[in-house]
């Protein structure tokens, strides 16, 4: 019999992580108009920074802030060294994407060189609680709490601050935003930093919940793209909703797979399938608007 409470908990955890990882990716995709494959390494880098601090004696939770800043800084570094120069040369979306694949490869394997390819883990409390028959670890509670806090914080930034409004304007219509006096460069910087930082923290949580390896970010990147596209490129709220939809699809899907006698190793394929279906049938996603060019 299915433990519904556990299922819900798992969905909350998966969805929360996806939401945190997708926010930065979706905004950059919209504003800079390219699929950033190096986003995976923002996730991984945050996790490893926390790992190093953890090994030095910091508790996992105090290293979260460092992970945030480190990943945010790496994101800005990516833009400064690779993406902005390409943008200035008028590079098209595919060129930026290819460059991001290259950048991701470099960072991933530098990390692998430093930390090794083997599994690493944090020193943390393995305490877990039981709620309505569902088991949830302390880390997992942290994930959900942080996700709610981060989503709220981001929402407030987007709606109450000047920067947030500038980000929304740039996301809707970059040319109009620029013409209206919005400092697009500042918006881009802020988006990289915030989006990257949150992804970095998500990386720490994911590594804490599973394990830390150099492909930590890469192994979730395609599902995160599925979230981005399902929610609509550039839609913050869309990404949140889509994250939980895909979490439901994955967790329920695994149950269905098992009952059908299919291998549960196909779990990632659920997100991949959603990704492909969205691209074919509704590329603008649930909440997005067409970026243009989809009409063939």
């Amino acid at each position: 019999m299915v433990n519904v409470a556990q299922l819900l908990v798992n969905i909350l955890i998966t969805g929360s992580l996806y939401a945190l990882m997708a926010v930065g990716l979706t905004m950059i995709y919209r504003i800079l108009r390219f699929a950033n494959f190096a986003h995976a390494e923002l996730i991984t880098f945050g996790a490893y920074v926390a790992y190093s601090l953890n090994k030095l004696g910091f508790s996992l939770y105090s290293s979260l802030l460092f992970a945030f800043f480190a990943a945010g800084a790496l994101a800005i570094a990516f833009d400064y060294t690779v993406f902005k120069p390409l943008r200035d040369r008028g590079a098209d979306a595919i060129s930026l994407m290819i460059a991001s694949i290259g950048a991701g490869l470099v960072v991933r394997h530098v990390l692998q060189e430093i930390y090794g390819a083997q599994i690493a883990s944090y020193t943390l409390s393995l305490k877990s609680y039981e709620i309505f028959g569902a088991r949830i670890s302390q880390v997992q509670m942290g994930i959900i709490i942080f996700a709610v806090a981060a989503i709220l914080a981001f929402h407030l930034i987007l709606t109450r601050t000047k920067l947030g409004k500038a980000m929304r304007a740039t996301s809707d219509n970059p040319t109009l935003a620029m013409a209206s006096g919005v400092s697009v460069d500042r918006v881009i910087l802020a988006t990289w930093f915030l989006g990257g930082g949150i992804a970095g923290v998500a990386g720490v949580f994911r590594a804490a919940d599973t394990r830390l390896i150099p492909t930590l970010g890469w192994e979730v990147l395609l599902p995160v793209f599925a979230v981005v596209l399902l929610g609509g490129i550039g839609s913050f709220y869309g990404a949140i909703v889509a994250a939980y939809i895909i979490a439901i699809a994955e967790n329920v899907g695994v149950l269905i797979l098992a009952s059908l006698g299919l291998h549960t190793g196909y779990r990632p394929a659920i997100a991949f399938l959603i990704l492909i279906l969205v691209l074919i049938f509704r590329p603008q996603g649930i909440f997005g608007t067409r970026l243009g060019g989809e009409r063939e």
Binding site: I94, M97, I98, I101, L105, F272, I276, P283
Partner: protein
């Protein structure tokens, strides 16, 4: 044969195999501008089809043919929805497709033996009266020559010209009466079938294959060959394959020769990533440019 010579022949064989793979990608990317990032999937289809058929007792050429047909059909089925997509969406969709194929190979253990992989893949013409590795070098080179000439004919024909026109401006090509979807689909099917040939040669050389040899990094490596070598220039792409494969094989055996202080795989991947970034930034058309058609 001395180890150094053996290493050289080994590298050349891999160059032949990956040059075929790169040429197949060049047809799609360099000539037609189809952003296929799922190349490894068809490489895997060729490898596994060929391996399974020959392991069941059938001859090599039948395995090769099965791979070509399965890859071609798969390519066609993928092209129906995929070719209508915008460039970056096509890229993402094909990466996802490649991963689905890899998951299939991992999970359908009854067929592929899953993560364990397939061992003891029979070698074609194994009783040939010469050093087998040298034979395979000539064998794989023969395939490379045939593929090269075949693609040369295709690309320099009116068919190839339409592909280039589609690359340059698809709407204009349509406005001149070309059913661009049909042409793109044919290019994609051809590219997939040729990738399968490379896969078969790969499987029969290594005699052992497993799903983790068919990760997206293979696709990225082949893309690097095309980006570096020169999009639309076949010889350039072969040169690109040679360069990248030389880098690959050299870093692999480096460990045995000298201690370079870094793990070979990391050095390899960082170099690959840097090559991609540098070429996209400073020489996106690649080292060798496409030849101009003149009368």
């Amino acid at each position: 044969m001395s180890t150094l010579l053996s290493y050289l022949v080994d590298t050349l064989i891999f160059i032949n195999i990956f040059a075929i793979l790169a040429l197949s990608l060049n047809l799609e990317v360099g000539v037609t501008r189809l952003m296929n990032f799922g190349k490894v999937a068809f490489f895997a289809i060729g490898a596994y089809s060929s391996a399974l058929v020959t392991l069941a007792g059938y001859p090599f050429w039948l395995g090769l043919l099965c791979g070509i047909v399965i890859a071609g059909i798969t390519g066609f089925l993928v092209s129906i929805p995929a070719l209508r997509l915008r460039e970056d969406y096509l890229a993402i969709a094909t990466i996802a497709f490649g991963e689905i194929i890899r998951l299939f190979l991992l999970n359908e253990r009854w067929l592929t033996r899953g993560p364990i992989g397939l061992r003891g893949i029979p070698r074609p013409l194994k009783d040939v009266p010469m050093d087998y590795q040298t034979f395979y070098l000539l064998f794989s080179f023969a395939f490379l020559v045939v593929v090269f000439l075949f693609l040369h004919r295709v690309i320099s024909s009116p068919f190839g010209r339409v592909l280039k026109a589609i690359r340059e401006d698809e709407l204009v090509a349509q406005s001149l009466g070309k059913n661009t979807f049909r042409f793109k689909a044919q290019a994609f099917v051809l590219g997939s079938s040729i990738a399968s040939i490379a896969g078969s040669l790969f499987a029969h050389y290594l005699t052992f294959i497993s799903p983790d040899m068919f990760m997206p990094t293979v696709t990225f490596a082949v893309w690097t060959m095309v980006v570096v070598g020169g999009r639309g220039n076949a010889l350039g792409v072969v040169a690109g394959a040679a360069l990248i494969q030389f880098m690959e094989r050299t870093t692999r055996i480096m460990k045995d020769i000298a201690d370079i202080g870094v793990e070979p795989v990391n050095l390899r991947m960082v170099l690959l990533g840097l090559l991609l970034i540098l070429f996209i930034m400073y020489r996106p058309q690649g080292i060798f440019m496409e030849k101009k058609y003149e009368v």
